[in-house]
Subunit: 233 residues, 8 copies
Amino acid sequence: MSKVVSTGVTAATADLGFARLDLDRAARTGDPEVVFGAGKTPEQIAAALARLHEAHPGRAVLATRVGEEARALCRDRLPGADIDDAGRTVTLGTVPPPRGTVAVVCAGTSDLPVARECATTVAVFGAEPDLVVDVGVAGLHRLLAERDRIAAADAVVAIAGMEAALPTVLGGLCGKPLIAVPTSVGYGWHLEGLTAFLTMLNSCAPGVVTVNIDNGFGAGVAAARVARQSVAP
Amino acid sequence: MSKVVSTGVTAATADLGFARLDLDRAARTGDPEVVFGAGKTPEQIAAALARLHEAHPGRAVLATRVGEEARALCRDRLPGADIDDAGRTVTLGTVPPPRGTVAVVCAGTSDLPVARECATTVAVFGAEPDLVVDVGVAGLHRLLAERDRIAAADAVVAIAGMEAALPTVLGGLCGKPLIAVPTSVGYGWHLEGLTAFLTMLNSCAPGVVTVNIDNGFGAGVAAARVARQSVAP
Amino acid sequence: MSKVVSTGVTAATADLGFARLDLDRAARTGDPEVVFGAGKTPEQIAAALARLHEAHPGRAVLATRVGEEARALCRDRLPGADIDDAGRTVTLGTVPPPRGTVAVVCAGTSDLPVARECATTVAVFGAEPDLVVDVGVAGLHRLLAERDRIAAADAVVAIAGMEAALPTVLGGLCGKPLIAVPTSVGYGWHLEGLTAFLTMLNSCAPGVVTVNIDNGFGAGVAAARVARQSVAP
Amino acid sequence: MSKVVSTGVTAATADLGFARLDLDRAARTGDPEVVFGAGKTPEQIAAALARLHEAHPGRAVLATRVGEEARALCRDRLPGADIDDAGRTVTLGTVPPPRGTVAVVCAGTSDLPVARECATTVAVFGAEPDLVVDVGVAGLHRLLAERDRIAAADAVVAIAGMEAALPTVLGGLCGKPLIAVPTSVGYGWHLEGLTAFLTMLNSCAPGVVTVNIDNGFGAGVAAARVARQSVAP
Amino acid sequence: MSKVVSTGVTAATADLGFARLDLDRAARTGDPEVVFGAGKTPEQIAAALARLHEAHPGRAVLATRVGEEARALCRDRLPGADIDDAGRTVTLGTVPPPRGTVAVVCAGTSDLPVARECATTVAVFGAEPDLVVDVGVAGLHRLLAERDRIAAADAVVAIAGMEAALPTVLGGLCGKPLIAVPTSVGYGWHLEGLTAFLTMLNSCAPGVVTVNIDNGFGAGVAAARVARQSVAP
Amino acid sequence: MSKVVSTGVTAATADLGFARLDLDRAARTGDPEVVFGAGKTPEQIAAALARLHEAHPGRAVLATRVGEEARALCRDRLPGADIDDAGRTVTLGTVPPPRGTVAVVCAGTSDLPVARECATTVAVFGAEPDLVVDVGVAGLHRLLAERDRIAAADAVVAIAGMEAALPTVLGGLCGKPLIAVPTSVGYGWHLEGLTAFLTMLNSCAPGVVTVNIDNGFGAGVAAARVARQSVAP
Amino acid sequence: MSKVVSTGVTAATADLGFARLDLDRAARTGDPEVVFGAGKTPEQIAAALARLHEAHPGRAVLATRVGEEARALCRDRLPGADIDDAGRTVTLGTVPPPRGTVAVVCAGTSDLPVARECATTVAVFGAEPDLVVDVGVAGLHRLLAERDRIAAADAVVAIAGMEAALPTVLGGLCGKPLIAVPTSVGYGWHLEGLTAFLTMLNSCAPGVVTVNIDNGFGAGVAAARVARQSVAP
Amino acid sequence: MSKVVSTGVTAATADLGFARLDLDRAARTGDPEVVFGAGKTPEQIAAALARLHEAHPGRAVLATRVGEEARALCRDRLPGADIDDAGRTVTLGTVPPPRGTVAVVCAGTSDLPVARECATTVAVFGAEPDLVVDVGVAGLHRLLAERDRIAAADAVVAIAGMEAALPTVLGGLCGKPLIAVPTSVGYGWHLEGLTAFLTMLNSCAPGVVTVNIDNGFGAGVAAARVARQSVAP
């Protein structure tokens, strides 16, 4: 049902009928294969995971933004898959031994789904996630209590919605690579996360970088790459 | 050159040719008269101040957003006027004895012009301003060092640009009425202060209210009204 | 099921599994505890109210943005709770004796849910709300008829959608601290309340401050703080 | 230097090299000829006015948005031209005897240039303008004092910047055709008049129509057409 | 269940519990009473219509934006009501004899609901509507065929979505007062009617005025006022 | 039930009650008739297709944006219709023999519905579509492998969502007329395709033109016109 | 001062110190070399033109957006250059014999600079431009008079600002490939051309494609490519 | 003129009158001191650099966004300062020995000022910059020729304006930590860099992070931190 075509230029691909999977990405970038679940049917997600696992049996593959129905299908169809309902991810295969640590810090409990997607991504991409929850700056003592734990990581992901002041305060407290993730958590005129995003983008703490709204996956990829290369193999 | 017309409905006005001054506002609202200088010629600003001072000899009148040329004319024409070049204000007449205190707190030195406009407004509107400068949250220790001083005021004005995290952190530290002023200070895509504004509007600290971008005057009016009525006469 | 951890820095918190409740806020800010209901399950809302009430038996705690299902659960689970269906609030425990009065004024009947959320918040935060409904400026006589009643309050909250001219007219009629709340009421291109918001932000009546769209709670907190300190204890 | 070409379809045009003037518009629409001055050189404006006046000697022609330099040239080159520096208009030829009256009402003195452009347009398009200045709603008594005068007109143009509440209050006071003109007057985040525009567009007073920001000319054309046909010839 | 209160200032109102009806508007503005149905329950709409009809038995009252369920209730509860399902209006009582004519012109069949709301409003507000449908400018011949019929009216309402070129072309063809109504008809990035709105606002045909998106009611009120006063009583 | 009216100006039209079909468009523009299905009932779509097919028996007519229910009705009612569920089109009648080729290239599988709408439009408008799928630039080898095939076409349509880099890379590789179609595919803050749209509009490859978001139909019309006239008849 | 480096992959480039010129574009795309003048110094523009002319002596090279000072330098330094002050272009070398015709149509005289940039681009890219000026749709007869001339071209570029109705009317009159160019011509709230752009993007005439605001160059490239391949060599 | 105050909480600061310098940042974050020059007078910039250099004699301090006049003053006043006119930076003191490499890649020559600001920042923050210029994706061969050089770095900064496709293509070619910097380079409707920004934010290459528009400094800080910790000390 799928055939492997080689373009002679750079890479082998697997044609599933609805997509050409890129089988050489790991060789090119050192990263695992990922299925972005949004907009795909449960059948398509499960099939893509299975096909990629077959091509890379020794290394975990990941699906993100997997809806409820698709997670149920994966539970049936993919024995051994690790399914996270809160973070909406499915992991198939063995996660690599971690190199380096990523502190995944979130301001409120409503930011937790994004934080879990991020933490799982960090693990599948080869680093150790350390999840620190509910340390928003309106109650400063909660954040200060976790300061040393956060500073011990090789990279920090700071996740926040609403006014999103967390990364700025964190950025003034430690000098580690810091990736900010705005979330669409808020009420009133918050523009579905744009407010948080603008705050992060304009942080007066130098060196804060950011990803798109709710993009825990993207932040996880970036942080894992940093953490991995921060520890000698 | 000007005549007083009474509408029989509520108020006396003075017609200067280019504007109808409202001579009964003080009676109606308890507030002094103010000339908004933007878009007016130096001549118009000086004439309006002089006419209002004549109508209210016992109480200071204020002009805001007064440009360099107009300030020079006021220096010549209005002996005894108190002129603040940084805050771009001109005050004519005796400021009332203060009732209550307003802490005017700003995050960075670039926010100073807005802070000074605010502090002068607070004084003319009848309260005592206390100016606390350069206590942005990226260096948290600077703010924490001034915490008790700020909490001792009857009202707090928090002024910040860029990511504008200051009011949220302040709002978690004390329970006084807190008015946030976004400033147009920033770089990159900060939308001339809209970023700071959105941050303040979405603060997770409850009870933060806000005014328009760079509107130190509006915040000063609101804060002075609160402070005045917080102290028994 | 919950444990109290003390950070040694400033505050005691209660860990409910899904959130760290801040048990020392009252000491720090003088305000009661509040559960923001949006995005929480009915179970979570009821549990948080119960836990906070247990920690603060002598002072009412409040939940806002409580959906229909969660209000039903609170009716069952929390005997003695005061539940407002129109304002979507749940209050548990004794409201403190009021200090000062807040006039909560709204332009149209469609603004009533926001006005009720505001009035309940005022009461729980320790002041007396006085609700004045349906006095929009397109029928000016309705507003003028209530003018003295509004001017008698210690703080005014003006709630309006559509073109939101109410706070400007009110601000010209009395000099009390005035908090404007834009609502998402309107039709055509009104940007879900942004129009009302922009109107309020640009009011030519000096000293008008504003909160986010539909944020009756935030306005209530700010107004109650002002009213409370306007009356000697 | 210019030739008249007839397309055989509907209209005669005069080719000035830089534009094809439409010489039959008056026949088609009953309106006079107008030169929009923005983006044209002083030479082009003066030449177009002269050519149109030659084609329509019995009826005034109008130029709007005429800059300082171009007004000076018109003073030299076009004897008998009526030049309004505040409204930046030049009128050449005899204004027709007016039919009907248009009340041109503006909220503040900063709105005056737009109001004068409007009033001149009303006159050139054949109605009588009545200019009412500085009656903003933050001082309600000023507007109420002019209420009967405004209600006596055949059409009303309401001009306002900032929060632009004027048309809504006026629309509740009288039932005449009412055209609202937002102006770019304001400070802070007012989006160069967009705020005033949105307010007018969302007025809860029924039947308010609007034109583009600062477009006194457009409002004048519309109002004059209404006033003209409201009075039997 | 309802009581009439007189404020002594200007007007009598009827308090229905959920709203204060303004019983003197007709005297003040010459216009009939209208219930804006959006956001009201079917019960509230029917009750308001009944109460207003009782107060004004000799003149039709109107409800707009009446949903399907509310129209069904009105059919049951208000015998003699005239109900338009396409335009979502309910009219109760006798429409006044028309003075003047309004051409209600729309570009496509998708604009028809807005056109019908407009036409009904015109009739209830005392003028004669003439509905001209599906004459968009991409097929210019359709519009040119109706040109004389449109030019014969006392006022023109031009309704269009998508690129909304209709009012500009119409404005070049006749000189009658012309009100443009943008509709939310379109596909792709049309911003729910904002595109049509911007087009109309920037029309190079002078004197075009506009109302909010889909606001057939507002255009109908404005056009009827113009038409009524264009014909001697 | 429908009558043919001739305006005497340019065209014959068929009045279906809900629309005036333009029967002379083919003569005027060389293009087939099209029914835009969005916002029309299944009955209306099927009736319009049938009526147009009757008027143009020798040339296929097309309906786009046809929903599931309407496609089912067309299957029943219009034997011989060619129905594409993925592209949501219905074609009735014989497609003309193709002149010229259009490469329809899309970046990801999620862009396929837009690509199929485009390909069908190309065929109905008289050219040969060649569909190239899943060649996004993040895996450059996939695109380079298809380079010669794409360069062989007479016109290229490049369809992409997310960051939409495809047309820029393609535009640097070949010099054929290139029409870019942004799609609403993406996640996070992508503004429903506006991001892709802006990317295409700002392409540094010269000569890239664009259509509205998801508008495969518009791109197909434009590309077919180009391809048709690129091959001698 | 410049060296030619060959990457071995696809192309030769010339390194001028401040830029790598792409010397093989003509071979790859059939198009001439172009220097985009905005943001470059006069020296850089003249040097780049000279270097490209040296590499391609038999084919004209083009610079666009060339400011006044740079055009003066080119007049001195590049004898034989063809310089258009209105369109701000400089052409160096022999323009190829034209294949096919492009009608460059603009609505108003203010659109002329964009039209001239477009026409020059068409010529340098190998087709014959035919410039039709000042045929906006508010005076429909002007456009109808030129209809046959426009329909005779192989491609049409329609340039308009303000409400930008021209391409829609043109698109209904002929079936040639039509590229719309919005211009930043307008007044009031027109968003510097965005209004015109949105109008074109939402045209109800099928097959209209568009380029960025004021981008006469881009439209010229696209139109020339279409015209060239529409005529057998 | 300046005094050192210790808050007892965390840090020593130096009060220059116009700012409180944070003298302990290096200890807290490992980063050097930086003066952000925008909005400061030449005197203030030179004084701040001198004072910070005095406090940190062994480590370079940096000023960014230094205008022409301020750079001239620094040349006079600060012997030994390293001044980059293109990147508008001033460096004072010895740059630390580099750990790790950062490839600073930019699409066009217009992006060079941002690239140089970034490269200088990388050096002052302790890593080795490698500047790769003018490798935009419209000429793909230029980028492919530098692929290995870029992949050899420890972190990559990709700088681009206009359609900003560079980071996506780069992200598909190598797996290093990649920071994208949008620039305000473009023409037409590019929203001063927002277009480039949105493209980068929506890149389909996973793990791309971004900073604010033109923020070469922020990207340099982030990249240097990553590079430094990627090489064992």
